[in-house]
Assembly symmetry: C2
Homo-oligomer: 145 residues x 2
Amino acid sequence: MQKPKDQLEVFKELLTRKGLKYTHERESIYEEVRAINHHFNADSLYERFKKRGERIARATVYRNLPLLLESGVVQKSAGNGKRDFYERTRTKGHHDHMVCLGCRKIIEFHSDELEQIQEQLSRKYKFKLVFHDHRLFGYCEKCQS
Amino acid sequence: MQKPKDQLEVFKELLTRKGLKYTHERESIYEEVRAINHHFNADSLYERFKKRGERIARATVYRNLPLLLESGVVQKSAGNGKRDFYERTRTKGHHDHMVCLGCRKIIEFHSDELEQIQEQLSRKYKFKLVFHDHRLFGYCEKCQS
DNA sequence: TCTCAATTGAGATTTAGTTTCAATAAGAAT
DNA sequence: ATTCTTATTGAAACTAAATCTCAATTGAGA
């Protein structure tokens, strides 16, 4: 278990590696997503800037979220199922989701075993795992009757 | 390990349970998806009917795929990432996907362990697991340089 | 057979995300 | 510090995918 690199560093490295630039907008977006504790989507993030009077285009938000995802700063989350939802990646507290087909309730879960097996599988296929999207669909306790 | 119920039965049971009807269209769609060996999406399925002259509305196809998903007749697949892709559920041969962020290559993988842990977790949360969506994103061997 | 809610078709509509393109800004090279 | 090249941005137009509308129809239980 090595000390995790600072997230901003990782983000900047990704940009450099891809020949991209660290713009003011990217800085703002980075800071904002790090400050949000719950899940969000591109539009709700955009609205936060708008509400506070910071002018960043909707398209810019949409354009940059994939980079934050790729650098691991944010991870996929399970919103209502349709849109792309995100949440910041925590060193502690990564989790996946169970989605109830009945009432749409979301149950968060985590399993180290699961994570380890994904790592194993990635090694087996010489795949460099960056992030994953893992959702279980079914019925919560209440909706099983 | 109990003998898996006939898929058509499961589908019909779902309909009954939900107070829905087994229409001609549903029958056609059921049969068609069972006959497709590769992955598909709502539109490509619709096109198959159209091409052969069977008139089923696009909306009907879209409307019914979620039911087939819920009954386990089809499962989510990983197409190009954007659309909802499906593939028929095989007793043998269930798999998940690794998606390369570089070249979009899809690697199929399967792990009994992974499946078992999902079952365990579902039991732990009293969740009745129906299907899951599990995709690993990262870089394939070629794209790591 | 009757009844009634579920279903369908066809097109309109919505939603989410992407593209366009001229103007601007990052940051490497000089 | 200045120049130069290329990525980036904003704003709105656009696209793709999926959903909705509503009148006509159909399934299946009474």
